[in-house]
């Protein structure tokens, strides 16, 4: 059972060949630094900042309990804390939005 052939361009030459699905992944870019999301499902233990606080990169915003650890969630950029979407004790899913940062330009 021969699979249908696709096209693959290398250095301007178009090759007729099979391109397995998993071998070409589109680049999704780096994540948006103004949205702090949960990298793993877990429980919010403590929120260390309030809306309107000025923050610097590396300041701990909140603690997320997952994998038997209190994981420190920080911002990559400096700026103002916008909306905080969770409260202490909340269970969160992977990739759930936790905090918005208004980044200093």
């Amino acid at each position: 059972m021969e699979k249908e052939l696709d096209k693959l361009i290398i250095d301007g030459t178009e090759y007729v060949t099979e391109v397995p699905e998993c071998s070409i992944k589109p680049y999704e870019g780096v994540s948006d630094p103004s949205e702090i999301r949960a990298f793993i499902p877990g429980t919010i233990v403590e929120i260390k900042v309030s809306e309107g606080d000025m923050i610097e990169p590396g300041v701990v915003l909140l603690l997320l309990d997952a994998m038997k650890m209190h994981n420190e969630i920080c911002s990559r950029e400096s700026g103002l804390i916008g909306k905080i979407h969770v409260s202490s004790g909340d269970s969160v899913q992977k990739n759930q939005l936790l905090v918005n940062i208004i980044i200093n330009k």
């Binding site: 290398i10 090759y15 099979e18």
Partner: protein
Amino acid sequence: MSIKRSVYDFLTRLSVKLKGGGDKAIEKQKKKGKNTARERVEDLLLDEDTFLEIDLFVEHSVKDFGMDRKDLVGDGVITGYGKVHNRPVAVFAQDFTVAGGSLGRAHSKKIVKVMDVAAKAGIPLIGINDSGGARIQEGVESLCGYGEIFYRNTKLSGVVPQFSVILGPCAGGAVYSPALTDFVFVVDRISHMFITGPQVIKTVLGEDITQEELGGAMTQASITGNAQFYAKSETEAFNTLKKLLSFLPANSKELPPVSKPIPPDHPLGDDVIPDNRRQAYCVKEIIRGIVDASDFLEVHEYYARNMVVGFARLAGQPIGIIANQPRILAGVLDINASDKAARFIRFCDCFNIPLLTLVDTPGYLPGADQEHAGVIRHGAKILYAYSEATVPKMTVIMRKAYGGAYIAMCSKHLGATFVASWPCGEIAVMGPEGAANIIFRREIAAAEEPEAYRQEKIREYEEKFANPYVAAKKGYVDTIIRSSETRNTLIKVLSMAKQSRTGHPHGNIPL
């Protein structure tokens, strides 16, 4: 006790021991479509009546958690040695019918003992894995057992060939012994390997995945590349293993066994690949047209299919073949293909198996995904493996050999013993289209009819560089041969080249 009585007593004890976990447990094992450990060793793997079992009477000495009342036959593993096609091998087989094949101190000591036998005797080691994992009642003693096995897997690497046949669960730390061995075999619906199982993933990440999807046989053979051989049944897996053994020496000091030369079923003609460089074909057909009896044992058949590797014979002499596969991804080099080829090359170099490289590749796979996943670091492994190898290295350029991929695919510059090109070979920095676009970018843009001008420049570049003669003039290609001459030419090279490795010994680190 009279002698007669003592013999009777012995036979009674023996009959109990040979039953492993007993009839009920055996029935359970059978219901899962699995053979017992003893059947696997005595019936499926070894030549008839060659198994010499050791340590059948070993018992554990654990007192905690009610273990003192438990009698675990052979502590859940069968060990010993025997013969495959009349050549000695050392073997251990975990017995799932005894405490789920769980690994305790006595169990691991038995495995360690048989590994030491393999090391001393210089014979291959075959492990059959079917175990629920660490015996939790034994605590750190069971971890110590794994560690001592890993240590020996590593010390034996590149000294004797090591094989793992996964015939049941193999989870957590247990997966690392197979991962350290040279070849891993998995069987459809029977083998399951993972570090953390579906339940843990569900609890921690909330993700649903079945055992089969996560770490089943096809997953391990095609997605992860952890397993080199996939089989539909246990019998098929053992038959493949026996065939694989027939290509290999017993240890790194010996040469691989030579058999009677048999010509290929369909020898190559002179029109074996398409004229159009953009057209795909299956390189396995080319391989079968070169090697003895058209018999090619492919390694990693389902993983990184743009690179084909495996064993065959040339005039009876085992060789390892590394070939670009234009049928898949145009035969590009990428991360997985690099890892696959590099480890195979290093295995062959460990065990004095000459290499044949068949080249038809347009270069490296472009993409942010590849770059960010470290294609530089992974691609370097092919360069390292080829440069390091001191077995005879023969290269045949079939069509495209472009850029860095030309260098990487065992070029003269990496110490190839012999490089031949077919007349349609194209050794160049890149394909004519890309080259013309770069060299004549301004001229093309300024031309009245840019496309016609571009095509003219492509043709010009093609005529000048898309051939093997520029490289042959410099001596980077030793000779140009018709494809129909390939087999005979390679046989001549093999008879000239010194077969055994001359470089420093090395292990076969997982790559």
